[in-house]
């Protein structure tokens, strides 16, 4: 079919390195001895855990429920026992922990009850719900919940549905293999999307370095009698970026300030379509995904891997060579170093590349920017990366935003071409997260100010009220015949007068003394000269304190550990 193609500016053409991993067919990875399933695997709300330690779960059983509309459920990848619900290392560049469900598989791989449905017979809203509850999220890398993206804009008619099979990142071939081997499922999934969005046209874009995938997809489309157009697009990174692919196929440019449905176009990854079809037609939630294992390994290839499989298990499948010094999750342009190999495979894991100093040589030292403009020519978003760099570097974030920092898609083209070897994207990420953090601080400051003002007002009011009350009380007292002995009151603490204050002060003084003694490591037993009430109080405190002290002794000096300026805060 003839299709007029458009061009996007910029982009680069790194060596694709895809050949090694497409030799072998798609393989299914064995069930690992332990699965660590993070609950937060998609953009949006944090799913709430549905299981507890000791529960037996079945394959496909929900273990985390979507907590709001922009969120997606998480499921048990196989049957087994929940042995922990706790913080585990995340597959995230930070290497920080995230709440995960740890499952010990029982080897039976026993499914929950599944229902095959025909989406045509369902309400669209119901289909979206099923997708959400099946955990269908964008598998192109952004892991945005697909049901959200499948909601057409109210006012703009949907013109095109773009299916992204470009797979422009070097090394990566998971979509290629999926298209070659499971084209029919993809096309059926696309049909579901088509029926939900009702676009005028459906365009499947595949980079022209994957002729087999183009052919099989074309065949599948024809076999199923669909009118989707399979288009080979020129190979140029990042042709697979949603905005670039939309531009190439439709000529539309979606600015950062708009979402694509507002321009009558939406984009999905092929694997997303496939998983949607499995979810509707077989009742299978997303519990596994295809991962390319490549780079410096003995057996590059693509594997279907259960979500939650720890990385070391995955890597073992491919057999990394001896000089491997790093593992990169994602492609070489946008991926990141895995900080810890106990992190699990998640929905965003499309590729793991074993890196070696020869494969990914350490770059020459970073030089200052010479404003040569190469990065601006390479930037697919037509930004001025060197300006962004200049301002990010000097922490002039306001200016960086003026130069459209937030339009940057972090594709890495600019860093790729920079003769000064500047890690530009890194600067942009740094600037973005600083800005976000400022935003949070700002919101906090506003809230704090409001509360402070509210409190001041209340204090004023209370003072006024108290003064009034005191005046009244004095008047009342004067009205009484004779002043009695106020000390005679049975429970001095409860009298809301000066004596209560005095007692409190005494209590405090005592408490301070106690604290001081405690600090001097002596057990505070000096309780002479205290009121009974105070003694009672102390006894209570002692009771509470007992278990705590034991705990504290177990922990080494907590204060000593926190450093004033942790090294990561330094540049």
């Amino acid at each position: 079919m003839l299709q007029r193609l458009f061009k996007f500016k910029g982009g680069v053409k790194p060596a694709t390195n895809k050949a090694p991993s497409v030799q072998a067919p798609l393989r299914i990875a064995p069930i690992p001895p332990l699965l660590v399933v993070p609950l937060h695997q998609s953009i949006g709300g944090q799913p709430t855990p549905l299981v507890e330690v000791g529960d037996r779960v079945l394959k496909g059983q929900p273990i985390g429920a979507a907590d709001k509309w922009v969120s997606a459920a998480v499921h048990a990848p196989t049957s087994g026992t929940v042995i922990a619900v706790e913080e585990r290392v995340a597959a995230h560049p930070s290497g920080l922990l995230t709440l995960s469900v740890v499952i010990e598989p029982d080897g039976q791989d026993e499914w929950i009850e599944r229902h095959s449905l025909d989406h045509a017979s369902l309400e669209p809203e119901r289909v979206r719900e099923i997708l959400r509850d099946s955990g269908v999220v964008g598998l192109g890398g952004a892991v945005f919940p697909s049901h959200v993206k499948l909601t057409p804009a109210a006012s703009v008619p949907m013109d095109e549905l773009v299916i992204n099979g470009a797979e422009c990142e070097p090394f990566m071939t998971c979509d290629d293999l999926l298209m070659r081997e499971r084209a029919e499922g993809i096309v059926r999934g696309v049909a579901i999307f088509r029926d939900l969005l009702r676009p005028k046209r459906v365009l499947i874009g595949i980079e022209d370095n994957k002729p087999e995938a183009v052919a099989t997809m074309q065949a599948a489309v024809e076999a199923l009698g669909e009118n989707f157009e399979v288009v080979a697009v020129p190979t140029r990174y990042p042709a697979g970026g949603a905005k670039q692919l939309i531009r190439v196929l439709t000529g539309k440019e979606v600015p950062a300030s708009k979402r694509s449905p507002e321009m009558g176009v939406q984009c999905f990854n092929v694997a997303t379509a496939y998983s949607a079809w499995r979810a509707i037609a077989f009742g299978e939630p997303v519990i596994s995904r295809i991962v390319t294992l490549t780079g410096n390994v003995e057996q590059p290839g693509n594997w279907e891997i259960l979500l939650g499989t720890p990385m070391q298990e995955v890597i073992a499948l491919a057999g990394p060579k001896a000089d491997t010094n790093r593992f990169v999750m994602g492609g070489p342009m946008m991926g990141f170093d895995l900080p810890d190999l106990s992190a699990p495979v998640v929905k965003a894991t499309n590729c793991i590349i074993a890196g070696s100093p020869t494969l990914f040589p350490p770059p020459a030292p970073e030089m200052p920017c010479i404003r040569c403009g190469a990065c601006a020519l390479a930037c697919p978003h037509e930004l001025q990366p060197f300006e962004l760099y200049w301002f990010s570097r000097s922490r002039n974030f306001g200016k960086a935003q003026e130069y459209n920092l937030f339009d940057c898609i972090e594709c890495g083209c600019c860093s790729y071409v920079c003769p000064s070897h500047i890690p530009l994207v890194q600067y942009f990420r740094f600037a973005k997260s600083e800005i976000w953090s400022r935003e949070r601080d700002k919101n906090m400051a506003d809230a704090a100010k409001a509360r402070f003002e509210f409190r001041n007002e209340r204090d004023e009011r209370e003072k006024a009220e108290k003064a009034e009350r005191l005046a009244k009380a004095a008047a009342a007292k004067a009205a009484e015949k004779k002043p009695d002995l106020p000390q005679a009151a049975p429970e001095p603490v409860e009298t809301p007068t000066v004596d209560a204050e005095a007692a409190k002060k005494a209590a405090i003084a005592a408490a301070m003394e106690r604290a001081r003694l405690q600090r001097e490591a002596a057990q505070p037993k000096n309780t002479d000269g205290l009121t009974i009430a105070q003694r009672k109080e102390i006894a209570e405190i002692e009771k509470r304190r007992a278990p705590l002290q034991a705990q504290q002794q177990a922990k080494p000096n907590a204060e000593g550990v926190q450093t004033q300026n942790s090294p990561k805060d330094q540049q």
Partner: protein, 337 residues
């Protein structure tokens, strides 16, 4: 594990390579220069290079920056070569030293070194020296004054009586002075008839040097080290104003070809206004920068007080770069129209 940040792949490019290509592109011009005017210019280039590297090393040392990557990047050498080519070839050695040191120390390193200087260092060197030592900076040997190499060296290094040996001025200056003195009684044609000074296009010999620079510039453009925007708009700016005035009064204004091939026009168009660091970066900005620089260079060389205007024009436009860039930001993806 080395600390690498994504992307893990990078193109095989470096600042050093860029600068080496610029140096290579200068070679045709330098060769012609040395051939026609004697090898003194090579000595000047050597002096300038040594000074530049020393000054750069000293400044790096003072700031505790590593010497290796910065001395090796070649940018100081580009600056040095351009200074040597812009100065009169028989200028005393200390003049080149003062100019180069000022360029590297003040114009470059006080701003943080490579890539951060708002002004073109080589042109700062030229401007500083012509303002401070106008006599020495306007003595250009005529091409046909066949001084021997030894004579030239004596002039460069010696304290000898230099003035009268070198009373020649560049074709540009000769023309300007002649027209000024003639007060209408002479015309461009009669002045430039002297082929010994003016050659066929714009100064005997100098036109070939300019052609050498043109050649190198085209090669640089082919290598994608420089873009066409600045160079072409610079030449266009100069051609348009000189052409207009020439058409209006050919007796008083020389033709565009004369201007394109004399003074620093070609060197400026391909090696100086193209300096990425101190120039505009947006496409429209580059056009404005180049065009205005060409225009101003012409105005200064013809109407102003200095023999050539390229240096001042470039510096004046350097001043405007932040503003031009600010107002010529290209629309970004999705924001067109």
């Amino acid at each position: 594990m080395d600390f690498i940040t994504p992307p893990y792949l990078t193109q095989n490019v470096s600042v050093r390579r860029v600068m080496l290509q610029v140096l290579a592109a200068l070679i045709p011009g330098i060769a012609t220069y040395a051939w026609l005017l004697g090898p003194a210019v090579l000595v000047q280039i050597a002096i300038a290079t040594a000074t530049a590297l020393l000054a750069e090393a000293a400044m790096l040392k003072l700031q505790d920056k590593p010497l290796g990557p910065f001395l090796g990047d070649g940018s100081a050498i580009v600056t040095a070569w351009l200074i040597a080519l812009a100065f009169p070839p028989l200028a005393p050695w200390w003049l080149i030293v003062v100019g180069t040191a000022f360029a590297i120390v003040v114009a470059k390193h006080l701003y943080g070194g490579l890539g951060q200087n708002p002004f073109n260092p080589a042109m700062i060197a030229f401007a500083v020296c012509i303002v401070s030592f106008p006599a020495l900076m306007s003595q250009w040997p005529p091409v046909n004054a066949q001084a021997t190499f030894v004579d030239q060296l004596v002039l460069v290094f010696g304290q000898g009586p230099r003035l009268d040996a070198l009373s020649g001025a560049t074709p540009l200056d000769t023309l300007k002075t002649a027209l000024k003195l003639g007060e209408g009684s002479t015309s461009v044609a009669t002045v430039t008839a002297d082929a010994a000074v003016f050659g066929r296009i714009a100064g005997h010999g100098w036109e070939w040097v300019a052609a050498g620079y043109l050649l190198g510039g085209i090669w640089l453009w082919g290598r994608k080290v420089i873009g066409w925007h600045v160079s072409m708009s610079f030449l266009a700016g100069m051609t348009i104003i000189s052409g207009a005035l020439w058409l209006w009064n050919p007796a008083h204004f020389a033709n565009p070809l004369f201007h394109l091939f004399s003074g620093g026009s070609m060197l400026g168009a391909f090696f100086i206004v193209t300096d990425p660091v101190s120039g505009c970066t947006t496409p429209r900005g580059k056009l404005i920068f180049g065009f205005s620089a060409g225009l101003l260079a012409y105005l200064i060389r013809v109407f102003g007080g200095y023999p050539d205007g390229v240096a001042f024009a470039v510096l004046l436009l350097n001043l405007c770069v932040p503003i031009i860039d600010l107002y010529t930001q290209p629309p970004i993806f999705g924001m067109k129209k």
